[in-house]
Symmetry: D2
């Protein structure tokens, strides 16, 4: 039998799964999918039939499908919790996560999936997304262009697919829900294997620009409040075959053009760069907050971008999440947080839901110091573990992540009310809260004057830093 | 249109690729694949038409398709190079590697692939394998059951598929080529998501046993010299939901049954455990050589297994490769080497071809001390970078890896001939090459006697360890 | 002026400080030390005059010098808190810690220190130790021989010094306080630079034996309940100049002799090996729990030793502390815990007091599963930060560390009472709680039978691992 | 006996050694030091009597005290080797390194040391330094102020000490030798425990300024070509007690004042910042090259400083050394290299002499691309291992380090002559070597134009990155 071109194409797409063996029976699929699998099916019913709208029940609740700490309308430190948090569901992890990993085939077979990447399936999945958003009770969502609509055979076809799904999303959003941000997926397709903006191929640079242009347009159309650049392939595998200087220049040209286009179309969202040190590349150009800031300053883009800090990326780069948040904040660049966590002993991005209370409290300390994150917020760039295959696990994970950050906020309120940690810090620096201190801080005291002071004062007194006391106070608030 | 069950199944298999977008044109496919794509096609022609048999041309050669250091029949330290090295091609990386990664779709579209996972395709691929082996000039190959033959709808069907491909492989092997080892793939299929031998599900334990039983049979049938256990899913993601003690007991029962079955069928190959610290799991039970040795001793399996040491796994576990090789050797367990390397700054398995000369020299030092590896050898558990998409890259990578280890062997010969490094070590321990030293080493000197010696001798003289001199001598041999 | 030998000697000792500069005025020394500095001074008064006996005041207390969670006599899970915890003060960190680091001179000048290492000073310091122990309210302490008494010019003199201080300690201990463990310091003196038991010099091996013999005697004399081996120099800096096999054999001979001597003198304490992966050496022979267990099994010492697990060492070896505790427990080797923590982004031993509640809860889970640690306990192998220079910081740090573990125990009680986490785990493995499961676990089911089962049952059902739910339940108990 | 104040002081200084035990006999001291130990002794004879001037003998030499690859006057790539390398001896490691580590007392007792930190000893040591420099055959040296002259009781006294030693150094330098750079030691003394420029204490800020002022003056006086800032204590241990924003502002004020003072005194040397990620602090403000560059740009100091890149610091920050060199170079900031290496599995600064040929070749690639380093050079910020205690080890280590980099330079010459690696890179980017490429690189092509191009051209062709070939070519040059 001679295969037709279309079939060959389809089969080629399967290569990375089937190369490792036919998976004869999806072993965890709980539902009768056949009934709903027609290409034109418009599954408009309930996607999560057993799951109610998630409500706040307080810390003593044992109900896994209830909030114990997150009470959206409750006011803390002068703002409603929902306005501090601005939680967002990440479409890709929640609706396109398969449980596959470098050593394993997909494990998740949600009842609403028909096994295709058709437009109809994309639309059905979008309906599931909004049911999920409504049940979890958040107002934002985030997406890559290729998550929500299938790639076509040509760019035109891909754009048309995207338009069709976006029109539905617009309708489903209603008056309350908006994208926290949108972005273009410039890392999955093999054309981007050498990068998008930093590809060695001019044609890929152009293609990436076209894709960002479109993604920015649809983000704008949907009322998105930010637009994110994560340069998953903008980096190198080895410097032996790489002209890093030229690639960085290309990246700057690309960002300049993005800024210009944003202004041209009147998109008012914030442009965000998301640092990550490595993975998939050996070294990514947006290594961490300071590296991204240096890039923005060097190429005179500093006023046009903010940063999207991801906790798991922070720790992979050798910093605590709190450090990266504070570095972004002090550079005036804290725009958004990808809320997740990694494993302290693992050297790759695990994108776990954050459940560490101390960590959450530190994160919220930075957020409160920043006066909140708006127009940014918390996007759950976190996924179920490969082995978590129940539909309810999607809810449990989000509830747990939201509750953890909410608990962090409550702890920050306790710390602030108590005041002793802030007082400890104030006292440490009080020698600068003097007239001479003010002059030094104003840049008015030169080395000769400083030497004179040192000679006059003799050996300085240096008090204890009281780290253990600070840790004790901090822990008491948890 | 109502889809048929078979189609749904096929499409489900595609889920992890297509979930991220249709790849409209395979961008690097160099050949006219349509012609060869029929299901029954028996591509018996040349798979690598431009590539000659790889020959030794010596260090001054600039030919990328020639050996500069590996000269198979040349005798070094009393053995032919090929007998020291016993190089093996890893079927999975070389013929099933797609270039996919957690953030990217496949990038490799070899001309002989038709995009299917059919039996016919499996056989065609097997022919390519043997042409490759012959052109590269090695005598061994390694495989997982599911690499070489497609998974079926049932275990019976999978076994039948395997038998059919194995029969062809047996024919193609001829009189010279043999499996260095075979193994069962117990990590890709979702049924193994909680482990194989250590799955929380009894049914999976049984299934894994059935699969290992069959893989051991076909390895034996093909004349394989070893059988490997790599427990990619034998570990845990979190201890919160894991009964580690019970899982370890199950693993021991499983290994005992494997030993019994090996003996029953008269398979004379060595059973090998391949340690890896983590990835895909958070923590794997065969963390490193010492951990595997402890397991074998605890469960009284120490005489039945050896270890397959992989350099990239060694460094991920915080050890140098040389350390792991020596640890295995000193425990009498050095059975085989998975020759590859990782990136010193990267926290996951990159499976790169080893090109570091110093490292290769250290590896060969252990091999020479071990008197060689037979019946084990060097399996190239190494893959092309995702961005390396030319057919010739497969050859360049193997040549480079083989030359590097061959260069290591030549360096070891220089070190041994020079003798000064061995002499430096001998001198360090010479105080034990005395009568008293011999008594101590025989366990005949108790604490009271030792105290008496210490009191009599007074403060011991402690000479320099001469590390910098040792490093200078070592480097001079490179 | 011609210097006298004694002065030269004294000055030589200063070399590592003064090489970096005279520290003209101890900047934080709060007290009039001159008055107390005479060689014969017997400071018998109060060492911590402003610090009361530390009492339990409950979670709402804001008093830094009170326990909020540790209530020694309170019964939890059927045992008094103090019997679960068996807290011990580490003499070296608390009384010999100077705040020095590889880049910095000492920062701590406690009022009772006279700047000498005299015997009189050693005795005064011992008095301070017992006042501290009594005020903090613990019953155990730990020491190295050379912490508590000055090294002499000869081994005889060192032993005599030790005897004198130990006699005082015996008196000060009274009827209630005992060493949790003693040990010999085989890493500080340059004679041990190549190791003690694994030194390349026979004379050092003998000297180390003599020192361990004496340390074991005094531990026994003081009623110590354990004796620890931490092989800080038992390892290598480079394999190029090292005969690892010979060194490991020497270590085994040394341990055998230690066991024999223990029995000879009727010392009933447990011998403990303390694993650490590296630092100060590049690679230590007792890398982690599994490595130490393998060593003990290989050399047939498995019944004679247990392990002292240190959390900071665990994380440096790439494991969670919980993993190391469970590994020790499952090998029947969990003997004692060095309670501390490291920094997740730092690659050396920071020996911080543990203040992470989640971590403490996991640690206590293992302890409760182990039925407690007795005759071992929790030794605070933790030190003040270099910048913490107030006497009260010593108390704050210990209170914080004790409260954290006490809070962990209370959380474990909540988890056990709630029961849902244990139930989640039980359910995961229930397919083995069957007749067939029992047969498999008894080693009675061979591969042929397992294959038959696999063929009969078809594709196994594999449920969700519920990791996110487990994390939610765990966090709810904090 | 009542101690006198001076004695108490002296003894206090000993605290960090003696706290761990009297070292009765320096075990490795090879010479009769008593004879030379008088305070006024002017050891003007030979310090290294058995060591000749080190000469070039070529690669076949087996003489440890000869160069095999470094031939100072030989011209390579248009420059003499000595002009490419500009090697410098680090006074601190070579003459103040004691072998002490956090777990061990000093191990090195050089024959010329009398055990004091006296001015006379400082001068004798300076003579040893210049004999060493002359015998090794380099033209530069580097120092901290407090390495070369003892700290006094007051700043005035310290400065006077420094002046006296510097006057001698000036004389000994002769016409050829100069400091590659000088610096102030702002990390050892406890006054700097919270930082120098970033201390929470104003008095310390002033003291640090006075010390830098003086160090800059003496560097200028000695003809130094650079001045280095390594902020070993400029960072934090925990953010809980730290006002990072205020500290960074203070650091900027401090650097501004340094620039102003440099100009005022007509010092023409380059100011260099030396990045290091952590150690001794948990997090240092000059984490890596990009972080330092961001700081310089943020505070408008970018034209006034360059960077001193240390290879061991690079790898600790998660980058390859080559990456950091290229990052510095591309930011116009590559000023100097601290030539050393770390251990790939160790998480702290080991400051080893670099002996890896591949690494050295990559380093020299950056240096050649930079057109050399002048007025910077290669400072050997590397030390003997603790266990290397022979005087000749100092020479062997330096020879080995110099030869390795010289070998790297020779390899770079081979790579450049061969040309195929450069050609491989050129070809990768050739699509940008077009008219359209030039327009894109000039920032003249907007998103609309790029989209038009993408639509017209269709799917871009993306060739192989040829990493394995690049690695093969690179290795062939070694």
């Amino acid at each position: 039998m001679k295969m037709k071109a279309g079939e060959i194409l389809l089969l080629l797409l399967c290569l990375n799964v089937v190369s490792f063996g036919v998976i004869a029976n999806p072993p965890t699929c709980p539902a009768d999918i056949g009934k709903e699998c027609s290409d034109s099916g418009e599954w408009e019913g309930e996607f999560f039939p057993g799951i109610p709208k998630i409500n706040y029940e307080g810390p003593s609740s044992k109900n896994p499908l209830a909030f114990k700490w997150y009470n959206a309308e409750e006011e803390i430190l002068g703002k409603k919790m929902k306005d501090w948090m601005r939680f967002s569901v990440a479409f890709w992890h929640t609706f396109r996560g398969t449980g596959g990993d470098p050593f394993g085939a997909p494990t998740k077979y949600w009842p609403w999936e028909d096994g295709t990447n058709s437009l109809a399936m994309a639309k059905r999945r979008m309906r599931a997304n909004f049911e999920f958003i409504n049940k979890v009770g958040v107002d934002w969502w985030c997406f890559h262009d290729r998550d929500i609509a299938p790639d076509g055979k040509t760019l035109e076809e891909s754009n048309a697919n995207l338009d069709e799904v976006v029109a539905l999303a617009k309708k489903l959003q209603g008056s309350k829900i908006r994208p926290l941000w949108g972005t273009a997926q410039l890392f999955m397709h093999p054309r981007y294997m050498h990068g998008g903006a930093t590809s060695s191929e001019l044609g890929v640079y152009a293609y990436a620009a076209a894709q960002v242009k479109k993604a920015m347009e649809v983000t704008n159309y949907l009322g998105g409040e930010n637009y994110v650049f994560w340069g998953g392939r903008e980096g190198y595998q080895t410097l032996l075959n790489t002209d890093m200087g030229r690639e960085l220049d290309h990246m700057a040209r690309f960002f300049e053009a993005a800024v210009a286009y944003k202004k041209k179309i009147g998109f008012n969202g914030t442009l965000l760069i998301e640092p990550k040190p490595q993975e998939p590349t050996k070294h990514q150009y947006d290594w961490d907050a300071a590296t991204a800031a240096n890039f923005l300053r060097k190429y005179d883009l500093i006023g046009e971008f903010k940063l999207n800090i991801e906790c798991n990326h922070a720790t992979l780069s050798g910093h605590s999440c709190h450090h990266e948040l504070e570095t972004a904040r002090l550079n005036g660049l804290l725009g958004n947080i990808d809320a997740n966590t990694g494993d302290p002993q693992i050297g790759w991005d695990t994108d776990q839901f954050l459940t560490d209370i101390g960590e959450a409290t530190l994160v919220m300390l930075s957020v409160v110091r920043n006066g909140g994150l708006a127009p940014g917020g918390f996007n759950f760039d976190a996924k179920l573990r490969r082995e978590s295959t129940d539909v309810e696990d999607l809810f449990i994970a989000h509830i747990s992540g939201m509750d953890t950050l909410a608990r962090g906020l409550r702890n920050v309120a306790k710390l602030i009310e108590d005041g002793s940690l802030a007082e400890l810090v104030r006292k440490r620096y009080q020698s600068f809260d003097t007239e001479l201190g003010a002059q030094i801080e104003a840049g008015k005291v030169d080395f000769e004057m400083l030497e004179k002071i040192a000679l006059e004062r003799g050996e300085p007194k240096v008090p204890s830093a009281k780290q253990e006391l600070a840790e004790m106070i901090f822990q008491s608030a948890l």
